[in-house]
């Protein structure tokens, strides 16, 4: 079936099998491999993408459900001039990245969180990122990165 949606600002029109997962479409057809597969069960958050600004697990999402939506993957965050998004910069500077496999999902969850809540408390950060598992960092530096990003983004468009 033919589906049309916008991905990272680009109009996409693609023929897919109805049973294809959005994750496989994004990785194998659109070749956007920054979206990771960690469990295929919605339990780790590595495959998180934004659908109309809302974080969802692309492993649980059938591709047809993308019809008419605006989606953002990690590749959509960097500026055209190669400038990092302030959240990416914050993760880098705060040491919130170790192996980096959870990082794209973490960053997208952070983006959705800060859009909804520009100055989250620690508890709100924990709630907002509770769908993203990280096995390397112990999370402390991730919290700091979110706080730092919130500070940097104050008042600006996320």
């Amino acid at each position: 079936m033919l589906i049309e949606f916008i991905c990272n600002g680009k109009e996409i029109s693609v023929d897919v099998l109805a049973e294809m997962r959005a994750l496989d479409l994004i990785r194998n057809e659109l070749l956007l491999t920054g979206t990771k597969c960690g469990c295929s069960k919605g339990e780790c958050g590595s495959c998180t993408i934004l659908v109309d600004g809302i974080p969802e697990c692309s492993c649980l999402l059938l591709a047809p459900k993308l019809q008419g939506k605006v989606i953002t993957t990690i590749e959509g965050l960097e500026g055209a001039d190669g400038e990092l998004h302030p959240i990416q910069q914050a993760f880098l500077e705060e040491g919130a990245v170790q192996c980096g496999f959870c990082t794209p999902g973490m960053i997208l969850s952070t983006k959705a969180l800060l859009k909804k809540n520009p100055a989250p408390t620690v508890t709100e950060i924990e709630e907002g990122l509770s769908g993203n598992i990280c096995r390397c960092t112990g999370y402390t530096k991730i919290i700091k990165a979110v706080q730092f990003a919130a500070l940097k983004l104050k008042g600006s468009e996320i």
Binding site: S40, G42, I54, P55, L60, P64, S109, S130, G131
Partner: protein
């Protein structure tokens, strides 16, 4: 596999009537996993998330109507809903899951640990089941037959959840516990709704429901009876908690021992009761 995006409820009912090997998909948070794991696909997948009539939370004369395709996230964020239902919704999975998972899905999936089920039972919610043959209203309590088993027929769809005005007016609470703090699957969950008399302050009606402690979520009528007509102090609450404990028949499984389920429900019940009685507006 064919993918059919249903636009109206009528259309959906007609399709359900005519198709034998079809399956409804709402959020898909359970169904997609099952399909991937088994490799099996229905001939037709009917996506109901575009049916406007099934989405949203509306105030009605009788109380509140919740469309079955309303997401768990929307439920958790809606302040017109009773505390227990909002907390139950907020306890499910992760933000990502709550953003796509629906209340109808949580109900029809009929997991004994579903975190909206006990709130709906204690709020005495009714479920509207529709088919081309007509509709029927069934209380949530009657809906579940066992793990993954409900009274829903093949050509029927759960379209709406109704909570009556009486149950919107009392106070309620919900508490659950799992192995960890984030992305928790309930080892036990418990919901309580009660209404106190405006004059006497005595409990005029109380409903208690527990999940993950039996094949379906269950009501704990014995404890309800113990508390009804009282203004319970710590001692009575503890006695009621003991009776909740006595009424459940939990098993040992991968998530918990039966013993822990028996033990912890005392704490959960006491927590909810003290929250409702001390700070009924806190939620």
């Amino acid at each position: 596999m064919q993918y059919f995006l249903s636009a109206t409820l009528n259309e959906l009912l007609l399709v359900l009537d005519s198709e034998s090997n079809s399956e409804i998909i709402a959020g898909g948070t359970d169904l997609v996993i099952i399909m991937e794991e088994s490799g099996k696909r229905p001939e037709k997948l009917i996506d109901i998330t575009n049916i406007k009539e099934l989405i949203g939370i509306k105030e009605e004369k009788f109380g509140i109507s919740i469309g079955a395709v309303t997401t768990i996230a929307k439920l958790a964020a809606n302040n017109s809903l009773p505390c227990c239902l909002r907390s139950g919704a907020a306890s499910i999975g992760s933000p990502q899951i709550r953003n796509v998972g629906t209340i109808g899905g949580n109900i029809c999936n009929a997991s004994p640990s579903g975190d909206t089920l006990t709130p709906l039972i204690c709020l005495n919610a009714d479920l509207l089941l529709q088919s081309t043959k007509g509709e029927r209203l069934i209380s949530t309590e009657q809906f579940f037959l066992g793990p993954k088993k409900t009274v829903l027929k093949k050509n029927e769809v759960l379209s709406e959840i109704r909570i009556g005005n009486r149950y919107l007016s009392g106070s309620s609470g919900f508490r659950m516990i799992g192995q960890r703090n984030g992305q928790v699957i309930s080892q036990v969950n418990l919901a309580v709704w009660l209404k106190r008399s405006a004059e006497s302050g005595l409990i005029e009606e109380i409903r208690i429901a527990a999940g993950s402690v039996a094949p379906t979520p269950i009501r704990i009528i014995e404890a309800e009876e113990m508390l009804c007509g009282t203004n319970p102090g710590a001692k009575l609450i503890f006695q009621a908690a003991r009776s909740v404990q006595a009424c459940i028949t939990p098993i040992n499984d991968v998530r918990s021992t039966a013993e822990y389920r028996q033990d912890v429900i005392i704490g959960l019940f006491s927590d909810i009761m003290s929250q409702i009685l001390k700070e009924p507006q806190s939620c």
